[in-house]
Symmetry: C2
Subunit: 250 residues, 2 copies
C-alpha cells in the first residue's frame, strides 16, 4: 500500500457543507492531522489516529504529515473552510519545498472546501457578486504596513473586501486601525457584514454601516465583509439582504 | 405548503464536489431554473420541472424563479461553482430589489458551492494561500477601463489574482489586453495557471510564465490565476506545484 497526503477543507462547520470528496478521504485515512478544534470535527474510529496540535505550529504539523505519508500512511491534514485560503495547503507546500527531494514525488492532493467568506456571503445575500478581494488581517506573518497598503489599494479599486482573522486577543488594536483606514479610504457609506461561526449553532450575522462598525463586533471566528461603493442593502423584516450588483456603470 | 427559492452552487463539475446541502435542496425541489449546461447536471425525475435558458437572460430567469416561489413552488436556481461569485445570486437579488414588495418576504436561501478559482487553486497547489483578488474579465457588464484600473491596482497591492470569464468568442481581444496590462504592471516573472473544466473529464491544467501566456490558452471554461511576486513554483516530475507562502517579508 502506498501512502498519500490529502489537505482537506472541512467547510465552515455544518456537516451538510462538507463535500463527499472530503468525506471519502476521511473514511480512507489512517491519520488525521490539524489544529485541535478542526481535528475534533472528525469522528474517531478504529484504525484512525488523530494528531491534534495547537495553532502557530503549522510547519511542524506539515512536516509531520509529510513524514507519515512518506512512511506509507494515508494522511488527511484538515483545515476549516478551504485549505487553500489562509490555511494549511500553503504550509504543506512550504514544507515540501524546504524538505527532502523525495517529498515532491508524494501523492499530495488538495481537496477544496466551502471557505468562510463564501459561506458568510451566502447568509448575507451576495455581497461578493462583483469583483472582490480577500485579505488576512493578521499581522503575525506580514507587516502591518502591507495590510494598510492593501486596504487602501483595494478601496481605490472599489473591490468588495473579505477579511479573515480580523481580531485576536494577541492583536486587539489591529482591527480598530483597519476600520479607521477603511473609513478614511472608502467614506462612511458602506455596509459591513460581521458573520460569526456561520453554519454552526453559534452563528450570528450582523450588518452595520461602516460608521457604526466597532472592533468588538469581530473575533477570530468572524469573517468581515465590506461592500464596494455599489453594494446595496435591501431592508426587510429580519436581517436585510446585502448584495453587489453584477454590473458597474460606465 | 409554502414555496421557497434556493440559489445553489453545483461546484465546478464533479459530483463529489456538490455539498450534501445542495443535493438535499435538489431532492426537495419542484422546479430547477438555470443556464442550459447547469440544468443538464440535474437528474430528471417525476414531479421535477427543468427550466433551462440561454445565457445573458439572467434577470428574466431570476424573475421567473421568484414568481414560481411566490406561487408556492420549491425552486432551485442552479449556478456552476458558487452562486455568489459572478453567478445567479446577485441577479436574483437585483430582481428582488426591483420587484414587488412581497418578494422580500419570500424564503430565499443561498447555498454555497466550490467556486472555480478554489477548485483550480487546489489542483495547482495553493496559489491563493495569501491575500488575493477575484476579477471578472468580461466587459459585458462593466467598462474595460474599470477592468484595467483594477488590474493595475491589484498588481500594486501585490495580490495573487483569479480571473473568471477570461475570454469569449464575443470578446477575443480583451484577454490579450489584460495580459499586456499584467506584463506592464507585474513584470514578467509571474506564474500563470490556466485551469480548464476542473474536476470534469475535460480537465486541463497548464502553468506558464507570464511572458509565455497567450490568449489562446483560455476560453470561457477556463479560470486563470496569476501569482503574486512571492508565489513559488516547485518543479517536479509532472505538473509543478504552485503556491503562495503564508508570510510576506518586512
Amino acid at each position: 500500500m502506498t501512502g498519500w497526503l490529502a489537505i482537506a477543507g472541512l467547510g465552515p462547520g455544518a456537516e451538510a457543507l462538507v463535500t463527499p470528496e472530503v468525506t471519502a478521504a476521511l473514511a480512507e485515512a489512517t491519520d488525521i492531522v490539524g489544529y485541535i478544534p478542526y481535528v475534533a470535527r472528525v469522528a474517531a474510529r478504529e484504525g484512525l489516529t488523530l494528531h491534534a496540535s495547537d495553532n502557530r505550529v503549522e510547519l511542524d504539523r506539515a512536516r509531520h504529515a509529510l513524514e507519515m505519508a512518506a512512511n506509507r500512511r494515508r494522511v488527511v491534514v484538515v483545515s476549516s473552510g478551504d485549505p487553500g485560503v489562509f490555511a494549511m495547503a500553503a504550509a504543506v507546500f512550504e514544507a515540501v519545498e524546504a524538505g527532502p527531494a523525495d517529498w515532491r514525488d508524494l501523492d499530495i492532493r488538495v481537496l477544496p472546501g466551502i471557505t468562510a467568506m463564501l459561506a458568510a456571503a451566502a447568509r448575507a445575500g451576495a455581497p461578493l457578486g462583483h469583483d472582490f478581494c480577500a485579505i488576512n488581517l493578521s499581522d503575525n506573518l506580514k507587516p502591518w504596513e502591507l495590510i494598510e497598503k492593501r486596504l487602501r489599494l483595494a478601496a481605490a479599486a472599489d473591490f468588495a473586501m473579505a477579511f479573515y482573522n480580523p481580531r485576536s486577543k494577541a492583536r486587539p488594536e489591529g482591527f480598530d486601525r483597519a476600520l479607521d483606514v477603511l473609513r478614511d479610504a472608502c467614506g462612511d457609506d458602506r455596509p459591513v457584514i460581521f458573520a460569526r461561526a456561520v453554519s454552526t449553532p453559534e452563528e450570528t450575522l450582523r450588518v452595520v454601516p461602516l460608521t457604526e462598525a466597532t472592533p468588538e463586533m469581530a473575533d477570530m471566528r468572524t469573517v468581515v465583509i465590506v461592500g464596494s461603493s455599489l453594494t446595496r442593502v435591501i431592508p426587510r423584516d429580519g436581517a436585510p439582504i446585502v448584495y453587489t450588483p453584477r454590473s458597474a456603470p460606465e
